[in-house]
């Protein structure tokens, strides 16, 4: 009896452990399915929808890269300096007395940095470059900015403060890198004049002459 009891307690522990594991996060799947992160409280509830949202929904349709100016030049997109916010808001009298803007000016007057919480935080052993992705998809493939940023960040233009809406696991990254992306124009000229490394096998060419290839697949691309 004693022995049985012990075993049952052990099994119970195992079950509890397993279920806690399951509850924390589902096993990874190679999908692009949305995976909503927790809502995060920020020092100022920044309304992305107001700044980047569509005009018919009251948004200003500001390009993401107007504020996140480092994204096209650096590994990290960066949070804009307060200077940037003030640059516009010092001449927008209509919202000057609203609580959020008042709070913004408090930080500015005290010359204190705003302690934003990081929403999209990859582990330190992952080297993700915003610059490379933006160069490829926005400047070479001419895709719309909000669509491209949205691949990873979701539909930020409808959010207030950002909330993670993609899994951002390695499997999730790979699910996109495994797809065939066009690397040449119709005539076979490399897009953006950037010759593409096809690895061991040159991929098949379709009827219109467009060559498609998968995204970079070497470990060392992300794990330096």
């Amino acid at each position: 009896m004693q022995r049985f009891l012990r075993l049952s307690v052990l099994l119970l522990g195992l079950f509890a452990a397993a279920s806690s594991y399951a509850a924390d996060a589902p096993p990874p799947a190679l999908t692009t399915e949305d995976d909503l992160g927790p809502a995060i409280e920020q020092p100022i509830e920044f309304p992305h929808f107001r700044h980047a949202g569509d005009a018919d929904k009251g948004g200003m349709q500001i390009n993401c890269m107007y504020c996140h100016t480092y994204a096209r030049r650096s590994l990290v997109a960066g949070i804009p300096p307060i200077q940037k916010c003030i640059g516009c808001h010092q001449s927008i009298e209509s919202v000057r007395e609203t609580p959020r803007i008042k709070k913004l000016f408090e930080y500015w007057d005290a010359k204190k940095a705003i302690p934003w919480k990081k929403v999209h935080d990859l582990p330190d052993y992952v080297r993700f470059s915003h610059e490379r992705h933006i160069k490829r998809f926005i400047f070479q493939l001419n895709r719309p900015v909000q669509e491209v940023c949205g691949y990873c960040h979701g539909n930020v233009k409808e959010m207030t403060v950002a909330r993670r809406s993609k899994l951002l696991s390695m499997g999730w990254c790979v699910s996109c890198h495994q797809q065939d992306h066009p690397v040449t124009d119709e005539g076979g000229t490399p897009i953006g004049n950037q010759a593409y490394w096809y690895s061991m096998h040159k991929p098949p060419v379709d009827a219109s002459g467009i060559i498609k290839a998968k995204g970079p697949n070497d470990c060392s691309v992300c794990h330096k």
Partner: protein, 745 residues
Amino acid sequence: MMNSGSVKHLAGHPFDRRDFLKVLGWGGAAVALSGCGNGSVEDGKETVVSYVETNDYMIPSISVYFNSTCAQCDAGCSITGRIREGRVLKLEGNPNSAINRGKTCGLGQAGVQHHYNPDRVREPLLRNGDQGEAITWEKAYALIAEKLNGVSGEEIAFLTGGVSGHLKVLLGNYLDSFGSKNHFVYEAVGPAVLRAANKKSYGVEMPRFNINKAKVVLSFGADFLGAWISPVHFSQQYAQFRKGVDGQRGVLVQIESKMTLTGANADRWLVVRPGTEGILALGIINALGTATGDIAAAVKGYDKARVSKDTGVSAEQIDKIVALLKERTPSLVLAGSAAEGYAHGSQNAAAINLLNQVLGNVGKTVEAAAVVPFPQMAPATGNTFALKTLNDGLNAGKYKVLFSYAANPVFTAPGAMKFKDNLAKAGFKVAFTHYLDETAMQADLVLPLDSALEDWGTQVPEYMAEGAQINIQQPLMEKLHANTRGMGDILLALIKLRRADDYKKYDDYYAYLRAAVLQNKGALGGGVADDDTFWNETLSKGIIKLASAAHALSGKAGAAGLSLPAPSAIDAQYPLQLIPSVNASLRDGRNTNQPWLQESPDPLTTIVWDSWVEIHPRKAAELGIVEGDIVEVTGKNGSIKVQAYLFPGIHPDAISIPLGRGHEALGRYAKGYGVNPFQILDMVFDKETGELALHETRVKVSKTGSRVIVVKDEGPAGGSQMGKKIAARLPSDKVKLSEEVYYVG
């Protein structure tokens, strides 16, 4: 996860510890799994702080670079700092400097550890018994003013390390303001004897040594690849010298009693009886047979048989050196610190310089150096005579107020000098310092300085590589600690207390520096550029290069007054000569608290984080000492206990202990590691210059009975390469230096 309470409750009976651990183990595994599984993206855990205001060029993850000057030693190498997200990460050499041409040494690399050192002093501290009490700067300045009140200029002393540039000007003006002439410039291991000898031989203290133009270099203990004068510059010259002039690869002959890094790189390394370098130099002059007049007369007595007997260098070797010097011109002869460190050090250096003169090298490989056309900014170079003078003054109770900056005499003065006790006789002691070093620990008021990477300044190097240059020191990042101050700012604040009218137009040292540089824009090569453009360009380059004339060089000193003593007889009680060696990274010990330097193995012994005593294997066998034995090294002025390392590159009648370790303060990375040979040095001084003769200490070695494993990089069998006979090591008593046959095991 479950806790033990709920398990107990579920099971309904007491649980023993083993069962509990089992369950806990499973639970823990589950936590670990869920912690590192697919949910590795952390949302909202870390803070991402943006700038409030920033320059356009400050982009997160992209580095920016600023030029400044390395302050790790006095060579004045220009550096470029890599700064990311407002933090300095790495220092490299600035390619535009003729001194270091884009390179740095290990010491320079460790400069970031000076800046980020956790043991930096962060607040002004006032002595309260054994404790330092944090006070404000206003109170500190007021206290200094109060203590200086009614004190005459003669009763005030200012002790510094080597200073130059505008800081020296400001310091001079400050001392002037109360009519004090007591500026003591102290350098524990500087080439002070050489400066005096050079002044006599060549007419200048520090000429240029063109190693790269020489076809043979004969170096008497000058460790120019390691720690001598401007090692980064000399290393690059050495590389050119090895590539050769006119297709002739340069040959390096090193003559010394203890092998240095340079000696280890030499084509021929000759061990010489300590202190007989000058005799050998005169013997070579005699053997060359080209000298005439009074020089010929002076060297007449130095025939090969006598020189060989005195120095321990065989007649055959002398012949070989002479043949080499005759065959290859120009040559270059260097008198290093090993030749200087004796009571007759000046004579040694003069004899060695005379050899240069006889060989016709003056004007060819020994050239006049360029001069900065602002004499008030020229470096005040340090020596040990200054320390002795200060010490005598302190002992006589002459000084009521003592300032100390960039010097740590409590650590570097010979113990027999009783500097620490004499220092206590000064009424009020102010230390400007980065760390609580041994000297700061004795101070009444400690004022914390900005690090070299946070401070403004100008520096004029003592050794000018090509044209004259003034180096700019500028902050590479914001200050780490709010309450540290730049030395220039402190001096400016202090001088404002005395000469407010002259200095009130300068808000801070930066303003002073900018005004001083722009005032001489024409002379500094600014031409017609407007002030802002010139200033910004100057800061961006980090160097002001000047068109200037060179000192006149004279090469006709002759042999007047040259007299070398016969080698001293072996002392029966203290039979061994102690050579305190200057190691490339630790030097005089001011940088010992930078752990990279503690961790980088000594180039010759590969020992880390500790001191050692080098003993010749034959002597060790005589004394029954093996590697790792803790031995007691006893001299007339005390003893130290240190681990033994058997080293064939040393004269059998000498032992060597490196300087720099053995701190009793200076922070967690320095305190308590190794021993300090400065403490047991004999008080012997050079007869001409009054400099402390570092190599004149006699000691005996005895076993203590304990033994340790020496922590070092090389294998247990030394350099035997695991028996593969690639680079077999031969005990030096078996090496026949006169036969150049490489031993292959």
